[in-house]
Symmetry: C2
Subunit: 348 residues, 2 copies
């Protein structure tokens, strides 16, 4: 823009704006003894010349806050690595923090204390993992112009909140169709919170695939609580103790799937001979399970990276194509699901 000489200094701007260096300095520092018209003119010139101060790359890096509610798990770990990768590529630092979950509703209308802290911290942007925020929180963040991107939002994606996820519905369908193609008809679903958007999508995919072939889903074949191992254990136990137990279970995440496998083993049922299991996420635990878990892969690292890039785009004032993007899921076939009936020959 200003090819006269090297860097754009106050003097450059002052000359171009027809004022003194002192005046430009005052504009930059928000002093009162500058007339509105002069101030406006100087600010125009500052922007046109792209004045960046003495140190264009100050020692102080920009930061993006990555927060989560609850505990870290194998799922978070993958996302975090993607976030770090993208952060490093973009030259921003990642500040990690654990935030209290669901603020109780009795302080409705006011943003949670930690949200106020977050705003005060002057981050370039924030990324939340599977987080749930109140309307007041969102309003406060919006007022403060702090860009926020939620990964796999706990609530259904709102139009006024940017989020990144994966094709949960398609993934749920793919997993279920895989089991159906293997000949299973009595298939159960064990998933996370009923209010959780990604659980709803996965379950809907499950139901759609079942409906499409006219397979019935008894009430007891659905069990929802949290995305935890213990939920797989509890839900699996319940389902496997039914008089007419399912021959396959689709788990809402890998941890649940491993819990289901344990519930089966505790009853002397073999995986996959007596029960086929399909998980969701394709985290480390899927590869370390025995047998290795057939699962729906979410590109978690990519999701983390996209979240950061989107947040930085918002921070830069660039428009984003969509307030919610979903990356494609892939069915990864391993050893935990086999054709129905194939095993019963060997078993009985």
């Amino acid at each position: 823009m200003s090819p006269l000489k090297g860097r754009v200094t106050l003097a450059t701007v002052a000359g171009s704006a027809g004022v003194s260096v002192a005046t430009v300095s005052k504009v930059l520092n928000g002093r009162s003894d500058v007339s509105p018209s002069t101030r406006a003119r100087v600010q125009d010139v500052l922007e046109k010349h792209g004045y960046v101060g003495r140190r264009p790359e100050p020692v102080q890096h920009e930061t993006v806050e990555l927060f989560y509610q609850g505990v870290l798990n194998s799922y978070s770990v993958e996302v975090i690595q993607g976030v770090l990768d993208a952060g490093e590529a973009a030259g921003v630092e990642i500040v990690l923090s654990s935030r209290p979950p669901h603020p109780s509703r009795h302080s409705a209308g006011r943003a949670a204390p930690w949200v106020r802290d977050l705003i005060a911290s002057r981050r370039r942007a924030a990324v939340g993992i599977t987080s749930e925020l109140s309307d007041a929180d969102l309003a406060a963040l919006s007022r403060a112009r702090l860009p926020l991107v939620i990964i796999d939002p706990a609530d259904v994606p709102q139009p006024d909140i940017t989020s990144v996820g994966s094709t949960n519905f398609a993934g749920g369908m793919a997993a279920t169709q895989h089991l159906l193609e293997l000949g299973h008809r009595r298939i159960g679903y064990i998933g996370g919170p009923p209010t959780s958007a990604c659980n709803q999508a996965r379950m809907s995919g499950f139901r759609s695939a079942m409906d499409a072939v006219g397979a019935e889903v008894p009430k007891d074949y659905i069990w929802l609580n949290n995305f935890l191992y213990d939920d797989g254990l509890a839900g699996g136990s319940m389902m496997l103790d039914l008089p007419d137990r399912p021959t396959a279970i689709f788990a809402g995440c890998d941890e649940i799937a491993v819990g289901v496998m344990e519930a089966a083993r505790a009853r002397g049922l073999r995986i996959p001979d007596d029960l086929s299991v399909v998980g969701f996420d394709d985290t480390q635990v899927a590869r370390h399970a025995s047998p290795q878990l057939t699962t729906v892969k979410q590109p978690l690292r990519e999701i983390g990276a996209v979240a950061v890039r989107t947040a930085l785009q918002l921070a830069a004032g660039e428009p984003v194509a969509s307030h919610h993007v979903e990356l494609a899921t892939t069915l990864i076939v391993r050893g935990s699901a086999v054709p129905h009936g194939l095993s019963s020959v060997a078993a009985s």
Copy 2:
């Protein structure tokens, strides 16, 4: 403190410290071209005169950098949560970063680029998880007065580097003694890198316990590579294919233990009936394994918290009692190790 004339400027300090104004400026800005002694003297004078700068910067939070080399795993996750807890309690922010492992030796004598970045980032302190740093790296950090605490250092703890770990030797002994008390005599050890300090300690504990009862450890009963699932799989496979295979295996970490269990299952051996396994760490994977893993618990969250607190102590100039502290390990008995011979009745 200095009521002679008006404000305390760089020149005031420079005169009092017997250096140039430029040097004082460099100290303030954390430049590298100031010797440690000069830096210390100037900082003393700065503090004594209560230099506050021309414009006191808006209070931005102190940061502590938490870095790791390689990948995050269930072990890191626990440590990270402890670090975050302690960071929040102390009011410092945690900046998480992944750093390239072992700088190749061809640039010996110079600190790695990421170490220079770390120094330039002006953290209050840094904490590394199972990291390995070159002498040049350490020297550079020391020169820059950036306090560093390593958690479970990969190298043997040096006197000039502060570190936090757990009683690996005692833990290794406890695990082995447990197996010995269960009647096992043919016990294998599968662990991490031979150069790794914590691996060495655990293995020494293993050997000591074996020696104490006169149990022999054939060469093939030791397998060292990395602390990964695949290493448990590979090492376990090797050991279980021996003509005189062990009846129990002590794994250097939980992930290895799960890999060993898989290697056993692949050979039709049942856990714990045909092979007892003991792990180390007590991470999530120990509780989710099937059967649940008997393991040596490291207080990982506490270790992370202690590391942060120690780093902040160093940053505050307070002396630390010891350059290396070890927190106590505990044997957690679950279902993966049973008395030897008890099973062979049922099995054969």
